[in-house]
């Protein structure tokens, strides 16, 4: 994965920060962002990659991620509810730069049900763009190894 040097050190300090503040109570998750399902016809128009780190402390989920190389500027980003590889409804809204590369973030209060969903790998991040309104980048959230 090619993440900018700046982005990388930023996310590293973020991690350091959280681990020092929250120690054992926090759980760290990660989503690798990659293109939405493509065919050979769409493979040159559904583009980009990224990484989102999610930290759960109590019911508070802190979301911090980067994306780059999308085909057009980002319009929206969400967390959806669905088991791995099975799309599902939007459950939370994320803040996102309206650019083809940039940051995605949020601080969310999860319901208990969604905390369970998170632990069961049943949440995913999806980024929509101008030319790919149904979604351009997507990544299921797994516990960080």
């Amino acid at each position: 994965m090619k993440l900018g040097h700046k982005a990388f050190s930023l996310f590293f300090t973020t991690i350091l920060l959280f681990t020092s503040i929250a120690q054992a109570q926090t759980e760290t998750y990660r989503a690798r962002l990659s293109p939405m399902p493509t065919t050979p016809q769409t493979v040159s128009t559904i583009l980009g990659e990224g990484e989102v780190i999610l930290t759960l402390n109590g019911n508070t989920l802190t979301v911090q991620g980067q994306f780059e190389g999308m085909s057009s500027v980002a319009t929206m980003a969400h967390i959806h509810n669905g088991p791995p590889a099975q799309p599902g409804p939007v459950v939370y809204q994320l803040e996102i730069a309206d650019a083809t590369s940039g940051e995605v973030s949020a601080s969310l209060e999860l319901s208990d049900i969604h905390v369970e969903a998170l632990r069961a790998n049943e949440l995913y991040v999806q980024i929509h763009s101008e030319t790919n309104a149904p979604g351009e980048l997507r990544g299921w959230i797994f516990e960080r190894q």
Binding site: M1, R32, S34, P35, M36, P37, T38, T39, P40, Q41, T42, V43, S44, P83, P84, A85, Q86, P87, N121, Y124, R138, G139, W140, F142
Partner: protein, 710 residues
């Protein structure tokens, strides 16, 4: 014959023009229509072709190239290859084939007229110049008869494609040829790799240990030989120091293993660019299946043809992409190309190795009134399709049983085949154990009944003895490693080697699978998302059994798909594959498409895995030197430690490493050989859609031979 509104304008030589005209006039009593229609509608063949050019650019060029030249994603659609395949057929057949199967990623907004336009474009681009009137869904002229250059060429005496022995030589001039016996095949010399996967049990294991975990780091290239271009997934044979190599286009070569010298070459035809995975050796013969479903024996010393027999009628779509196994003097061969709605079904068949005489056929599809015939939802026999055996089986000489996997029902999705998820369709997607003397079914075990996602269970059956247990292992596209008793077929266990979400339950006692609800109920044009994709958890690349450590080591793939069923009309000659698909990375794999997974055959637990971005494109082999060899799309050929999966050595070849590695010895020195190759369907298409950053040349079929420096 009906020449509805096809009028052929002849720029051909007079005699021929007259003959064709006469034919038309005689056959076209009802063709007045075309003249009147011409006045009303301005549509012409060439206006269709113009529109078709842009529809092709949008919908097909990504895979077949802007100029039909082919890419790594799809075959060439022009020139010799196209004419070879389609020249003798009609626009209607071409249209039907394209509508049923193309584009594999989804029909999208293509209308019937768009498809007609695309066919006109394909024909025009291939030189069809004797047609004026617009094509219709029933235009049935012979394509090549409307290409003036082809007609002229046929009138001149052109040198035909190579046929028969093209390079003469004799193995005896290199090493005295010793006929190979049943006993030698049952217990191969450690120096040989005398069949696909080396032994009857399909272990893909070499007992050689000169190259081992300590010294593999210094493995070096000994020689390389470029092969013919075309689709290729070859498994070389090595017997007594000679490499027998199947090339694309049904060409077999014999090479001296030590020097890389070509000894002989034979072209059995058809001279196309199609794939054949493996050949067999028996007595003094090399036995070869052809892509047009013939079986041929060559003299292993000289390459001269000894006998030939027809396995199935290739004009009905039957074909072979894998070769035979020779068991107890019988050449046993599968059959592919059985997706069409025609009365004939697929079979496994056996032939006398001495003369090619048919011994028996076992049909893989149960017909009405036969045992299992009531599992097809009452469909007429004509509409029961699938059950291909496109991967070579294995053999237990003690039980006299040959073990084969069968492919799924066709079309892919139950609703497309006018059936439900309860119409299991015997004997598709099963292991079948067939008696080698009688051709009768001894037992079957259906791994995935009523298959719904184009994920077949057709691959090699690996036979394993553990204590008193006689077992058979298989690993299909669902990525499930199955363990069955090979005497009774009884289910003995399973493990999931990659993430799958197609089944919500796999019964631990019986192995019975339950599809996810939305897959069970999938309706036409409804998208279903599932893992693995049609590239499989595992595909044609065979796994290896390392007996010393009791591990099965498999080349696996981690991608997922979205699938939408399409309508397939129940008409004779129709049928086909019929689903639209999109592909994506398997969640939780960090974008690693390739996985080598090692499984303990007793506990079925994963011992280790090696994961990497590039998909794997060779079978795995293991050796007594405690090594596993495997190659990938990113041109890397790797040696792994069989106990840990650690990469101990790797090198990069000219293009994707694809085929089946082998190990052999000459004069006590051990060699490792592997092919680089291009072509192939889902295992190539899917990674090139997902891992677009991996680049490799579209040519470069070759065999590379490695050894330790002196």
């Amino acid at each position: 014959m009906k020449f509805l509104n096809t009028i052929t304008v002849l720029t051909l030589s007079r005699n021929l023009a007259f003959a064709v005209f006469l034919g038309l006039a005689l056959a076209a009593c009802d063709s007045e229509v075309s003249n009147t229609e011409e006045d009303v509608v301005a549509l012409t063949f060439s206006s269709q072709a113009d529109a078709g050019a842009s529809a092709f650019a949008t919908n097909c060029a990504a895979c077949h190239g802007a100029n039909l030249e082919g890419t790594t994603l799809g075959p060439i659609l022009s020139g010799f290859n196209f004419l070879q395949r389609w020249g003798s057929q009609t626009p209607t057949l071409l249209l039907g084939n394209i509508k049923a199967n193309m584009p594999p990623g989804g029909a999208g907004t293509l209308t019937d007229d768009d498809y007609l336009d695309i066919v006109a474009h394909l024909l025009e681009a291939n030189g069809v110049d004797a047609v004026v009137n617009a094509l219709t869904a029933s235009t049935d002229f012979v394509i090549s008869e409307n290409i003036s250059s082809v007609v002229q060429r046929q009138q001149r005496a052109e040198p035909p494609a190579p046929q028969g022995v093209t390079v003469a030589g004799n193995v005896d001039d290199f090493v005295p040829f010793v006929p190979i016996t049943d006993a030698m095949l049952e217990n191969p010399d450690p120096a040989d790799w005398p069949m696909h996967r080396r032994n009857y049990y399909a272990h893909s294991y070499s007992p050689l240990d000169e190259i081992n975990t300590d010294n593999v780091g210094s493995l070096s290239l000994e020689w390389v030989w470029n092969m013919h271009e075309g689709d290729s997934e070859p498994a070389p044979l090595v017997y007594n120091g000679i490499i027998y190599l199947i090339n694309p286009g049904n060409v077999v070569q014999a090479l001296d293993g030590k020097s890389g010298e070509l000894i002989w070459e034979n072209w059995a035809g058809p001279a196309n660019r199609q794939d054949m995975r493996n050949i067999a050796i028996y007595d003094d013969k090399i036995i070869q299946a052809t892509t047009d479903a013939r079986l041929i024996a060559l003299d292993a010393r000289t390459g001269e043809q000894v006998w030939e027999t027809i396995v199935a009628d290739s004009s009905k779509g039957f074909s072979n992409s894998s070769g035979p196994i020779v068991a107890d003097g019988k050449v046993i061969l599968g059959l592919a190309g059985c997706a069409r709605y025609i009365p004939e079904d697929c079979y496994i068949s056996a032939y006398d190795a001495n003369n090619g005489e048919l011994k028996w056929q076992f049909e893989t599809i149960a017909e009405m009134g036969q045992p299992g015939g009531d599992t097809w939802g009452g469909l007429d026999d004509v509409f029961r399709a699938g059950g291909e055996t496109w991967i070579t089986g294995s053999y237990d000489p003690d039980l006299k049983l040959t073990y084969w996997g069968t492919a799924q029902q066709k079309p892919w999705v139950p609703v497309s085949r006018h059936m439900t998820i309860f119409d299991v369709g015997l004997y598709t997607n099963s292991t079948v154990a067939v008696n080698t003397d009688s051709g009768e079914l001894d037992w079957y075990f259906q791994h995935v009944p009523a298959e719904a996602l184009d994920l077949d269970e057709v691959f090699e059956r690996v036979l394993v003895n553990r204590g008193d247990d006689k077992l058979v292992f298989s690993l299909g596209k669902y990525g499930i490693l199955w363990k069955n008793d090979r005497v009774s077929g009884q289910f003995k266990g399973y493990t999931e080697t990659v993430f799958q979400n197609a089944f919500t339950n796999i019964n631990a006692e019986t192995g019975e699978v339950t599809y996810r609800q939305d897959i069970q109920n999938a309706q036409l044009n409804e998208w279903t998302s599932a893992c693995p994709s049609s590239a499989g958890g595992k595909d044609w690349h065979s796994m290896t059994y390392h007996e010393p450590s009791g591990t099965m080591i498999a080349p696996l793939s981690q991608t997922c798909l979205e699938n939408a069923a399409r309508e397939v009309a129940l008409v004779q000659g129709g049928g086909g594959l019929a689903a639209s698909r999109k592909f994506f990375e398997m969640p939780g794999t960090d974008g690693n498409l390739g996985k080598v997974g090692a499984y303990n055959v007793d506990t079925m637990e994963e011992v280790w895995s090696h994961q990497q971005r590039a998909s794997l494109h060779t079978g795995t082999i293991s050796t007594a030197g405690d090594l596993v060899f495997v190659g990938d799309l990113d041109r890397r050929f790797k040696a792994l430690d069989v106990h840990t999966g650690e990469v101990l050595w790797q090198t990069r070849l000219g293009t994707a490493v694809q085929g089946h590695p082998v190990s052999f010895a000459i004069d006590g020195k051990q060699y490792i050989a592997v092919t680089s190759a291009n072509g192939g369907t889902s295992p190539r298409t899917v990674p090139s859609v997902i891992a677009t950053e991996i680049k490799y040349p579209s040519r470069g079929n070759a065999i590379y031979v490695f050894s330790l420096p002196e």
